[in-house]
């Protein structure tokens, strides 16, 4: 499915990614964990075409996506649900969803069908479809951001910190949604600070530290506390 090989990305002289390789398999939730500043978001941005890679490659189903601009990446099936949700606050809920379908060359009827499908999945959004997105609660905004991502009909959904800034109960709800989406067949690459929650939904995880993948595995096969410790604090000093 999504395959990242030796990805190097830098901001000026600072190398943020130093050869990241990972695979996200079809129909699975792949989770990228790591401490602050390890390169999680940079990986997402590079895959999404927001930052251009210096070297390495990103392929989706064998199709080369490296260094394509975001406009093209979205239309070829990679949608990003950004950190902090970034919904359009003065646009209503339905307009936010329609904006998510911008990159698709779809007919109005097709887009309206997809809006209806998102509303079926998130009835709370339908109740508020005429409301300005900025007036929604944090959890509802996250649902909207996810729905907006789905509107692009992605082959893979990139989710950057979906739980950030949300109350614990709402976090539970959002992870429930992530699991449901996956059960419906959506492939997800998840970046998450909340390692414990992430390990509970992930099929596979990668640990990124200092711009490099240092560890990967299948949750359950490893000591959860050890993984979580490293995800928050980096490598344990022996």
């Amino acid at each position: 499915m999504l395959s990242i090989r030796n990805l190097v990305t830098s901001y000026g002289n600072i190398e943020a990614l130093r050869g990241v390789s990972l695979d996200a398999a079809q129909g699975e939730i792949t989770c990228l964990l790591g401490p602050n500043g390890a390169g999680k978001t940079t990986t997402m941005f590079t895959v999404a075409g927001i930052i251009s890679a210096k070297s390495g490659s990103v392929t989706l189903d064998g199709e080369d996506m490296t260094r394509l601009p975001a406009v093209k990446v979205v239309s070829r099936g990679i949608a990003l649900v950004p950190e902090n949700r970034l919904v359009f606050p003065y646009m209503d809920v339905e307009e936010n969803l329609r904006a998510g379908a911008y990159a698709r060359q779809a007919s109005k009827a097709e887009i309206s069908d997809d809006v209806a499908a998102v509303f079926r999945r998130f009835p709370r959004l339908e109740e508020r479809k005429g409301q300005l997105a900025g007036t929604l609660s944090g959890g509802e905004q996250q649902m909207l951001a996810i729905g907006r991502g789905l509107m692009a009909r992605p082959r893979i959904l990139l989710m950057d910190e979906p739980s950030v800034g949300l109350a614990p109960l709402v976090v539970e709800e959002i992870f429930g949604i992530i699991r449901e989406l996956n059960a419906e067949g959506v492939t997800i690459l998840l970046v998450e600070q909340n390692a414990r929650m992430a390990l509970r939904v992930a099929h596979k995880f990668y640990l990124i530290e200092g711009g490099e993948i240092t560890f990967s595995g299948i949750p359950g096969e490893f000591d959860e506390d050890e993984v979580i410790h490293r995800a928050y604090l980096g490598a344990r000093k022996e």
């Binding site: 979205v74 239309s75 359009f88 606050p89 904006a99 900025g134 905004q141 692009a152």
Partner: protein
């Protein structure tokens, strides 16, 4: 009383063109959070191109109108390329300063094209006046008002009913997130400049055709009127631009009648001063500010 109503009507007629000028400023500001000072000069250059054609070749009024519009749009795209695309997104001040420089440049080009102080500008397709009851209406002004209504209506539909409008509004709210949606932000911006230049070109043409003359001060004049109307209404607000333009037109018409011609501009500045002191966000700006706070609190 009759005077008062007559002045109000005149004010609304002329204010409608101020509203169009303000829309040009406010859309660029709303989308980019940057001020395009060259907007008035853009319109002036377009109008000078039209006038040049009028002076040197006796062509149809329609051709002159189209030339004015086309050249205004081209000049607008030129400004976008030089002062906005070429300057980093977060360098708002650099854009403003360079747009000021381009203002000077465009004026120079216009004055080289037609070096004398005053040139005749062809009148609108219809001229003349008629009376309804005690009130006098000038046909050019009614045409101006109708043009403004049509432009505002078309803009509203464009912003709220089309894919492009959705992209433009998304960009004005969060350019970063708009990019994530696959919105081609540079293209949207270029189209926005072409669009507001078209609106400005229509406003400029209507104003000049009513005055039936053009001077090198037109760029400065249009910039002042547009900026004042935008600030009265609230920067970045489309309804604000319309309200601001109409209020400015009415205040000018009244003060011209009751206080005299020399107080016309002064009263506009006094109004702006009062607005900035009492309600710094403008008529519509305040509401947006509180909504912003609301949104911020809930996030």
């Amino acid at each position: 009383m009759i005077d008062f109503v007559q002045n109000t009507v005149d004010g609304i007629m002329f204010g409608s063109s101020y509203a169009l000028l303000a829309i040009g400023f406010t859309i660029v500001f709303g989308v980019m959070r940057r001020l395009n000072l060259a907007f008035g000069a853009t319109i002036m250059l377009g109008a000078y191109a039209g006038t040049w054609l009028h002076v040197h070749y006796q062509v149809n009024v329609l051709v002159i109108a189209l030339t004015t519009l086309a050249c205004t749009v081209l000049a607008g795209i030129y400004v976008e390329r030089l002062c906005f695309r070429a300057v980093r997104r977060d360098a708002a001040l650099a854009s403003m300063v360079s747009s000021f420089v381009i203002w000077m440049q465009l004026e120079e080009v216009a004055v080289h094209l037609l070096p004398e102080r005053t040139y005749p500008f062809p009148s609108l397709f219809v001229a003349g006046s008629f009376e309804i009851g005690p009130f006098l209406f000038r046909a050019e002004q009614i045409t101006m008002l109708l043009l403004a209504v049509v432009m505002v209506g078309a803009l509203h539909l464009l912003l709220h009913r089309t894919r492009y409008g959705l992209a433009l509004r998304a960009m004005s709210e969060n350019p970063q997130a708009a990019g994530y949606m696959g919105i081609h932000t540079e293209w949207v911006m270029l189209c926005a400049f072409a669009l507001v230049s078209l609106v400005g070109g229509v406003a400029g043409y209507a104003i000049l055709a009513t005055d039936e003359q053009i001077t090198p001060y037109f760029g400065l004049w249009a910039t002042f009127k547009g900026l004042i109307a935008m600030m009265l209404g609230g920067m970045g607000s489309l309804p604000g631009a319309i309200v601001g333009g109409l209020v400015l037109g009415m205040v000018e018409a009244h003060s011209q009648w009751y206080l005299g011609n020399e107080y016309k501009d002064l009263s506009a500045y006094v109004l702006l001063f009062a607005m900035l002191v009492l309600r710094p966000g403008g008529f519509m700006g305040q509401r947006i500010l509180s909504r912003e706070e609301l949104a911020f609190r809930r996030v």
